[in-house]
């Protein structure tokens, strides 16, 4: 026996299940011609090379920063042991301020707050 109509709540669950299953969402496999394939590969390779360069640049910069921090601390250790002890004190529980947010795709209407005051005053 075939059931032609189900009640509304059952239909909703059926719809939900069909939205989850992947069978209809799978896009068709692209059949690229040789020229398109070469184009695609060239662009992908160029993008990978660019990414590698960017990563290398970041890596070099971070290493330089680390080296300069190390040298500065080494210098401070020689010149003023008291200041060195203060500077090398670990701040384990320190948190970043909530006002510091990740940049959005578009700039805000008020780009820079000149007379900035922190929103939460900590004790």
């Amino acid at each position: 026996m075939r059931i032609n109509s189900v009640n509304a709540s059952t239909q909703r669950v059926v719809n939900q299940l069909s939205a989850l299953s992947a069978s209809k969402k799978q896009p068709k496999l692209l059949n690229l011609c040789k020229e398109d394939l070469i184009k695609h590969k060239t662009i992908t390779n160029a993008w990978n090379v660019y990414q590698r360069k960017v990563n290398e640049k970041r890596h070099i910069q971070l290493n330089a920063q680390y080296k300069s921090i190390h040298e500065a601390m080494e210098d401070l250790k020689q010149t003023s042991p008291q200041l060195y002890a203060l500077a090398n004190k670990p701040e384990k529980k320190k948190k970043f301020p909530l006002d510091m947010r990740m940049p959005t795709d578009y700039p805000p209407t008020k780009p820079w707050v000149y007379n900035y005051e922190p929103s939460q005053k900590r004790k």
């Binding site: 394939l37 970041r58 971070l62 920063q65 060195y84 090398n88 701040e91 909530l98």
Partner: protein
Amino acid sequence: MSRLSIRSFSSSPIASKVGYSTVQPVHHLIPIKKQTLGKRFPELNIPKDDIRSPQYKPKDVYQDRVNEYYQNVLKSDLLLHYYEHDSEAVTGNKARSWGEFSPYAVYRRDRKPKGLSRATRDIKPVTPRNIPELTGISINLYNKAALEESWINISARLQLAQITNVKPKVVYNKSNVLPWKVRQGKECGCKVELEGRDMTRFLSTLVELVLPRIRTFKGIKDSSGDKSGNITFGLSPEEIKFFPEIENFQELFPNLFGFHLTFKTNAGTDERARTLLTSLGLPFYKEVKNVQ
């Protein structure tokens, strides 16, 4: 073979003695996909990142601003923040040996670490190579209602798929607990592991659209964490309403389900992980204990 010819006093000859190999067999441990060996399915041998493969998924299709912010701004800030001069790795609590002299301890498993059941990791000083990073977010949704009616889990799965853009895996009960109506092998919720772009996209919606709109939300508890840099908190069904994917289609989601979020980091300690998460915009609050 020359040993066989030597007569021995023992009644049983050496050749008939049962020997055993000390070398572990490895042939069962190597999985071989037999389909890929022949010529019948050539597309199985195409790597996944090749566009001709049926499993190809385009990767960098939009700008990942969270990752860019982390790479360009936060990484150097975190490196400076975590820097400690002349610091060395703190060795974790490791498994102990049973001593060298006992013959019974030769193949015995090492003794448990002192005061713990499991060994803990070393805490290494932060260098440019191991700046703490958010490696993943895992979402666990335990659905109590699905224990009675298993179809209820479908809407929970769809809810999670809508929010995260990843197909969730179904979770099944592992044991029988009669008073909770928990039976082994029954559906009891779903889970999602987010990584890469899915993770950053989910994080940005959570931090910018969802959490600021929850009135009662104070932050994540300062005591949360598993001691190795993974921090968990939960969202209730009322709070999940604020996800834009749910909010704009409320009639399609009549019943919502709360879930637990675990932020997985490679920070090593909870304190480091907390600092990292505050840099990504997640607030923390300190619990005030009742003093009588």
